[in-house]
Structure formats: C-alpha cells, structure tokens
Amino acid sequence: MWEDGLCSPNQLSDQQVPYQGETCIERALTMKGSSEHGETSKAAPLGRGVSKGVSVLDLILRFIAIIGTLASAIAMGTTNETLPFFTQFIRFKAQYSDLPTLTFFVVANSIVCVYLILSLPLSIVHIIRSRAKYSRLLLIFLDAAMLALVTAGASAAAAIVYLAHKGNVRANWLAICQQFDSFCERISGSLIGSFGAMVMLILLILLSAIALARR
C-alpha cells in the first residue's frame, strides 16, 4: 500500500493516514480533492486557532476583572469623610466600616481579586496546552463560586447605597447622602468596577464551557 508515489510516508502527515478498508490511493485522492477547496488541510489548524483564541480571550477578560475588583475594593476601602461641623456629642464622620455591608463588599472584592490573580497561571497553561480537561472543569466551578460571591457583595452594597441616596419613608430611615456628599459619590462609583467584574466572570464561565464542549 505504501509503494506508490502518492503514499510515501513523508508526503502524508499523521492525520492523513488512511484507515482500514480504504486504499492509500483513494485516501490520497480525496485528500487532494478536498485540499483544493482548502477544507481538510485547514480544519485542524483552524480548530486549534479557535481554541487558542478562546484561551487568549479568557486571559484578557481575567485581567479586566482583576482591575475591576481591585479598583472597587480600593475605592470603597479608602472612603473617609469628616464633616466640618460637629456638636457636643458626636462628630459627623463616615467610613466604609460604619456600614457592615460595605465591609463585606470590600472583603468579597478582595477575595475575588486574589482568586483571579491566582487563576492567571492556570489560564496561561490553557493557552499553551489546550488538552487540559480537569483543570477547565475546576476553573468553571471556582469561577461560578466567585461569581456568586462578587454578585452578592456588589448587590448588597448597591442596596445600601440606594438606601443612602433615597432613604426609606416607611421605616423612617433618612437619606445620609444629603450630608455626606463625597462619601456617597465614592461608594456609588466603586460599584461600577464590581458589576463590570461580575459581567466578565459570566463571560469567562461561558468561554470555558464553550472550550470544554469543543473538543
């Protein structure tokens, strides 16, 4: 079967080895026919290219999520506003630690930021070696858990920020943003990075699932 000129071993790559029941000439002819349309010779590198593209996109999204969570944690953690007037009894001061929900927000964002930084090497390994299956599964599971954590933190902080802006008539809770202007602006702005990181995490889980389904 290997004696004719079309089937010398150095002309066929190992993906073009004919399977049993087909002669070598038939296989070589079909290879030639389809390579004129560019299908079979491009199918395998195209699949590898798409996988590598998915893994590179995964890495980029991870970087963006890291920046988002880090910025949120820092912006919320450095809030400190003291009003210029004070009475005999209290001094009007606002910090993130005065509201336990905002403390939870800072902690959750820090945890997710550290997790994302630690998962960067795994993501780089996926670019280099596309065959990893168990690590992608682990990554999906941990990404889902971190998505739950960051969503919880961002959403709870958003509820409190809304309360600080609008107050609540029924429960007689006053809107504190009337006095603490820059504190309110800071805590409102720091939510953006966290929600952006949440969207990035959803996209990351999607990409990992598509990469798992493709092999």
């Binding site: 001061k93 606002a94 005065d98 509201l99 336990p100 929900t101 299956k133 992608r136 599964l137 999906i140 599971f141 889902a144 858990a145 998505l147 739950a148 969503t151 919880a152 933190g153 961002a154 959403s155 709870a156 902080a157 958003a158 509820a159 409190i160 809304y162 309360l163 600080a164 609540n168 008539v169 029924r170 429960a171 007689n172 809770w173 006053l174 504190i176 949440m198 959803i202 889980i205 999607l206 990992s208 699932a209 598509i210 798992l212 389904a213 092999r215």
Partner: protein, 242 residues
C-alpha cells in the same frame, strides 16, 4: 456471535452490531449493514444473528436503563440528578416569592398621620427580590423539558446542555443579586445603623421581618443548588477522549 456466511462486527459495546454478509448479500442484509441499528433485517441469513442483538440492544447487556456503563451512562445519571435538583430548587424559589409577596403587617398602634404598615413594595429591594425569585421559578419549570432531553439522549445533547449551563449561570447571578440585596435590607432592619441613624424596625414589625428573613435563606439554598447544577452540566459537557 458468528455464522459461517455472515461476519458480525461489534460496535457500540455490543448494542448494535452491524451485520456484513460475505455471501451474496440479500437486500435486507445490505440494508442492515448500512444502518447502525439492526431494525428490520428481512433476509433469513441475517435474521438469526439479528434477533439476538435486538434482544441485547433493548436489554443493554442485561443492565437496567440507568446503570449502563460508559460515558453515556454517566451522563444519563448526571442528567437524572440534574432533573431532580431542578424540581428541588423550584420549591424554595416559589415559596420565597409567595412569602415575600404576602408579607403584610399592620401594627395595632397608629398616630394621627399614618398607620404603621409594612409591605414588600415599601422596600424596592424586596420588590426586586420578589421579581427575581418569580423569574427563577419560571425558568426552572421551563428548563425541565431540556433536562429531560439530556436524560433521553445522553450522548447527543451537548448543545442543549451548553444552553442550559449558560442560562443557569445568568439566573444564578440574578438570584444571588436579589438575595444579597434583600439580605442587606433585612440586616439593617434587624440591627439598625448607629452612624446613619437608621432605627431597626424589626422590633415592631416582627412577623414581616421573620417572613422576609426566611425567604432570603430559602433563596440562598436555591443559589447553592444552582451552583451544583452548573458543575454537573460542565461535567456532562466535557468530552471523554475516545
């Protein structure tokens, strides 16, 4: 199982053998050779080896429907657990939605200006919580048929599983957001806040607070179930190297 005129090539773990006759083939035998399931071979030479594989193809090698080995059996097992978990998660979400929606408490004291009355729509976070729970409950019901497809065709349902995984992720994020927002409001209602001068209202509205706290706990349980569903869908999508 072989006869002297037909060669049986075992494929698919012996469930669906392809009968290739070396003798001059009757039309029924070539029809059986070209299809992978020996459904109705009409030639007499193929009838005898085909009757036994037909029995084994329905029996699956003697194992019951759910316990077949191999990648298909594993996926089928995961799909059954997926279905059961979806049914299990429907309960807490629906209960949380209903219990928040009907949480209405009027106190027996009232002043000249207003009556002490608490309902879920006094707090926008609880409105969002109610809506998100209702959406999640509706989604769980609508995703049951897709889950059943995963049980019936375990090896060919990758696209359906991928769709379910994506929707599960989105709905899980929505539910977590709603539960966390409601939990923040419930926490402030229980403990108040000294710096912002927010009074804890739970001391007066006892029943309302209990109702909403219970709903929040139920929703967090549903979120846990969703995370397990996502993990199982990812396990089932993963292709085995074959």
């Amino acid at each position: 199982m072989t006869s002297e005129s037909a060669t049986v090539i075992q494929m698919d773990d012996g469930r669906a053998p392809v009968v290739a006759a070396a003798a001059p083939p009757a039309p029924g035998a070539t029809a059986a050779a070209s299809s992978s399931y020996a459904t109705a071979p009409t030639s007499s030479s193929a009838a005898e080896p085909a009757a036994a594989p037909r029995k084994t193809s329905t029996g699956g090698g003697g194992l019951p429907f759910l316990l077949r080995s191999g990648a298909g059996g594993f996926r089928r097992c995961l799909a059954v657990i997926d279905f059961l978990l979806r049914v299990a998660a429907f309960g807490p979400t629906l209960a949380a939605a209903i219990s928040t929606g009907t949480a209405d408490e009027r106190l027996s004291v009232f002043t000249n200006f207003f009556q002490f009355h608490a309902r879920f729509d006094d707090f926008p976070a609880f409105t969002f919580f109610l809506v998100a729970n209702a959406v999640a409950a509706g989604y769980l019901v609508l995703s049951l048929p897709f889950s059943v497809v995963g049980i019936l065709r375990p090896n060919k349902a990758t696209g359906v599983r991928l769709l379910l995984l994506i929707c599960d992720v989105v709905i899980m994020a929505l539910l977590t957001a709603a539960a966390a927002a409601a939990a923040a409001i419930v926490y402030v209602a229980h403990s108040g806040n000294r710096r912002a001068n927010w009074v804890p209202i739970c001391f007066q509205f006892h029943g309302f607070c209990q109702r909403t706290s219970g709903s929040v706990v139920a929703t967090f349980l549903a979120v846990l179930v969703f995370i397990v569903l996502i993990l199982m869908a990812a396990c089932a999508i993963r292709r085995r190297p074959s």
